[in-house]
Symmetry: C2
Subunit: 582 residues, 2 copies
């Protein structure tokens, strides 16, 4: 038996007990006649004490050889500490060691195993197994487990069945790129790894499974942006005989339950907003509503003067920055530089300070008088002391730019409190979106999303205006879940494929099994999928998903710890009937 | 709202309630003035009634168009049935329908959606989404979910953390063939899909995670034998600071808990048997101990006469078949044919009937007298009325043959009761096994399994005799779990790689990250992995794992429903820097 107790367990009530502990040497202090060792395991740290007067010379000698991260086992007696440490739960006691076994030695780790480490991201990823020893990473992984268990138990109690869908499936050209897997037994053919279990969960609904969920890995071979992973985990859900309202209620319940049980935050009914309203009010389909700074559209109150920039613009829109009137000229110039960065892309920014005395001072005073600026303040909700920032241009571009500015300012103003949670349903997403590259409409969600019945007639005339029965759950400015009511009849599905540019032959080749299935009594159904990595990160009060994944990949899709991907044998390639083509 | 109740819910206490139900038409009976429809959903069947006198003509007319598997919604009143059906929970009531909506029609399904279907395996797999509507398949999937939840909650309560390990990892030539995934971003390189998360769970132990589990898909590109799947699910577990005894106790507890809570079967301490004993007593390292028929080794009592077949044999071994003395000559001949089938491979079989009067009649009476045969009966434990079946030859071959016969006879004798559960730990597996093809030793378990310290010296002289700290959990003649105490120091691991024929360079290229990790204070650790598909099937009282997998693949690794694997675009291949080589 390697241990009688963990290193986080002993208390003054255990005084005089004979105990056995195992763990890692966190640090040692050698005072000559006395040696203290902090022993660490998953559960905490316990101080060990070696005392020349009470510990055998042989044990003392061995203790002097201990280095950081050695793995040891000790036997000893729990005693009360002379100088207590209120910072750790075991801080009132220490263990007077009588026996010491070195279970394994350690060379010097490449970074310190401390909450605040000296190791940079790259080195920590290469030695991720050491990084995991650190509390911040270890706690994140344990937190992830806890959230996963809560979700599974909640959904299971609501009657959902977790069904495992296959990983070796069929490649489809729609959507992102698939990772593919050559089949040795089926020469020249390939499996694909699922981008999501979408079609399988719909087939489970056709199969009568009614309430399905799965916490499941999904795969996308995309050029990785920051904080995207080629493999990621999804909470995938689907229900039959439901309308949008039923789905929103169930998953609002799940989210409310998580916030309550895990964060102790009680939230009532989640607000709802249409996609159009979200875009108009926040310039964004996943607005962070922990703070205000709503968009004020200024066309009516800013296009009546000789200011050509505004007059030529499709949209003039501003936000009020709380207490921003105190910004210096230099600070405002830096803000203007910020919105002009290529990542944001504004051509410039107009501003107006709302002075505390009720007067205004703007960068366009030669065009606009105090009455004009008072109207800007009214529309943007600016109060004395605030700064109005105004951008103008093409609607969809300027909304994105002002949204970026809004988020940046909120960050700087400390308005994005990670311990505050503001969920929001965004509903009535467009069915289709125009893709500049391919010059055709793509499904905004996916090709199985149902159009609103009253909008179907628009498919032929104004495809971009057709709304879908599609919804996103947004939390603190992040889309944490998205879903839709699906098409469940063959005719509407064929109509959709047609509008997405599939020939009937292509549709049959790719999704024939789904179209076939729809002939045998498919029930009305719909669902939702949550990004589990993101959800856990946000609940954990952080924004980087990588910190909540045990073994993440870097931005080139590499696992630098195991050095994958890697070359494989020519023989292996031959068996798979493929060759390299570099 | 599509339904107020499910189709399994209504009882006489609901009489006179107005209800809304949705589901599939199981069957209709049209008596002209009255129509009955069995409406089915996941939860059960409710009888609907359309009565000319009480239902509108329009609704009656629509009801007459209903075909099997149409999806409908009805509103109506719960009434007591005149002729009750005691076979279903809703059998005392029916719903008098006032409104009927056809939600979706169905063409005639290719097989009947009944517990006993007319559909063969192939057609049911092609239309698996219809097969899942049938109770036997649906119940298996729900049972699987239930078992999964129990396991997760049990392990979580025991302090285990579920950690998701990556699916896109590194290919290793050891063990079975990997499925590989070409990397687009890392030209000419490949990921591999994990055959198990073995190295990652060991790295989690190095990382201090202490108690890990994961229910996870694993992949093996093997030529598929019956009832093997290229992707399968594993309950993967690992613990640090443990000895073999700790692991056996924890997972014996898990299995006992499952048997108790899911099957209502209470089992005390699981018996244990060494690998050697299992091979000698049952000819098999996963013996079914629900029944006896233990092997009796007959060399001493059968090699003293002139029967050359036995005298030349390394091993002469028999079993007693209960009540087998009554077999006719024809039946015994068929048994001899059975053991001579190429799948079993015996050259012949000697038998001796133990007559009820205490005399013996054998197929080798000209060599052996009554005293000889009495000794055979003693060694095999045969009683009057039994049949002794004896095989001879090379030990390892003849054991396998007699084991096959033992299982076959037990099956015929009805001794393999699927509702009886007999778990068994088999311990002390050999570390290495000789591979005829490559003419070298392979790791019997995997290269990370630790040898028993007292046997290490044998590595150089008698590698085949070295025992490992390895164990299997056997249930009803199936290996449901297997594991080992791992090597946790770099030196022993290097020694193992050396004995497995790895050069230091090869070992470094394949497992360098693990060897590196072992330098930084790896704790003693070990673990176990259960085959989840198999475990669920056995708990479900069945032996075919395919019946417990939602969307299984056939013996060619194909998903015949979605028709995968399939061809992919040349452009896609080009992006991946590979080309076909057929």
């Amino acid at each position: 038996m390697y241990r009688s107790h963990s290193c986080g367990e002993l208390r003054p009530s255990d005084t005089n007990k004979e105990v056995t502990l195992s763990g890692w040497v966190q640090k040692t202090r050698d005072k000559g006649f006395m040696i203290w060792v902090d022993l660490r395991d998953r559960y905490g740290i316990t101080q060990l004490m070696f005392d020349e007067e009470r510990t055998s010379a042989k044990v003392i000698e061995k203790a002097k050889t201990l280095g950081r991260e050695f793995v040891i086992q000790v036997k000893g007696t729990v005693i009360e500490r002379e100088s207590k440490n209120a910072n750790i739960p075991t801080g009132d006691i220490e263990v007077l060691v009588s026996e010491l076994t070195i279970l394994n030695e350690s060379i010097v780790p490449p970074f310190t195993i401390e909450d605040q480490t000296d190791g940079g991201e790259d080195i920590r990823m290469k030695y991720r197994y050491l990084d995991i020893r650190r509390n911040p990473v270890k706690n994140n992984l344990m937190f992830r487990h806890q959230v996963g268990m809560k979700i599974r138990n909640y959904l299971s109690q609501e009657g959902f069945i977790e069904v495992e869908t296959p990983y070796l499936i069929k490649s489809t050209p729609e959507g992102a790129r698939d990772f593919v897997v050559p089949s040795r037994m089926n020469e020249g053919q390939f499996y694909a790894l699922p981008q999501s279990p979408q079609t399988f969960k719909q087939l489970l609904m056709v199969g009568g499974m009614d309430k399905y969920f799965q916490i499941v890995k999904c795969f996308r071979d995309e050029d990785l942006r920051a904080d995207r992973q080629p493999e990621f985990t999804q909470i995938d859900c689907e229900m039959a005989f439901v309308e949008q309202e039923d789905i929103l209620n169930i998953f609002e319940g799940l989210t409310r339950n998580l916030l309550s049980e895990i964060k102790g935050v009680e939230i009532g009914n989640f607000p709802r907003m249409t996609y159009d309203e979200a875009m108009r009010t926040y310039g964004n389909d996943k607005p962070d509503i922990r703070f205000d700074m709503k968009f004020g559209e200024l066309n009516e109150v800013a296009q009546h003067k000789d200011f050509k920039v505004f007059n030529d613009a499709e949209l003039v829109v501003g936000i009020a920055v709380p207490s921003g009137a105190s910004y210096t000229r230099k600070e405002i110039d830096k803000l203007i530089d910020w919105v002009k960065r290529p990542q944001v892309g504004a051509l410039g920014m107009v501003y107006a300070k709302c002075n505390n005395d009720g007067t205004y001072k703007s960068s366009v005073d030669k065009f606009y008088d105090q009455d004009d600026l008072a109207k800007w303040a009214e529309v943007t909700g600016a109060k004395p002391g605030d700064l109005i920032c105004v951008l103008s241009g093409q609607s969809h571009k300027v909304r994105a730019q002002l949204s970026a500015l809004r988020m940046e300012l909120a960050e700087r103003l400390g308005l994005r409190n990670p311990e505050e949670f503001a969920p929001l349903w965004v509903v009535d997403f467009p069915l289709l979106e125009w893709d500049e590259d391919t010059e055709r409409y793509h499904a905004m969600h996916h090709p199985f999303t149902s159009p609103k019945p009253e909008d179907i007639a628009l498919l032929d005339t104004n495809p971009g205006d057709v709304r879908a029965n599609a919804y996103d759950l947004v939390l603190n400015g992040n889309e944490i879940g998205g879903g839709s009511i699906r098409i469940h009849d063959k005719e509407t599905q064929a109509l959709m494929f047609d509008h997405l540019g599939f020939t009937p032959e292509e549709a049959k080749a790719q999704f024939g099994f789904l179209m076939d299935a729809f002939q045998y009594g498919a029930p009305p159904h719909g669902g939702i999928a949550f990004g589990f990595d993101r959800l856990v990160a946000i609940l954990g009060g952080q924004e980087t998903i990588r910190d909540f994944i045990a073994f993440p990949k870097n931005n080139n899709g590499r696992d630098v710890m195991i050095d994958a991907p890697s070359n494989i044998d020519t023989e292996q390639l031959k068996e798979l009937n493929i060759q390299l083509d570099l």
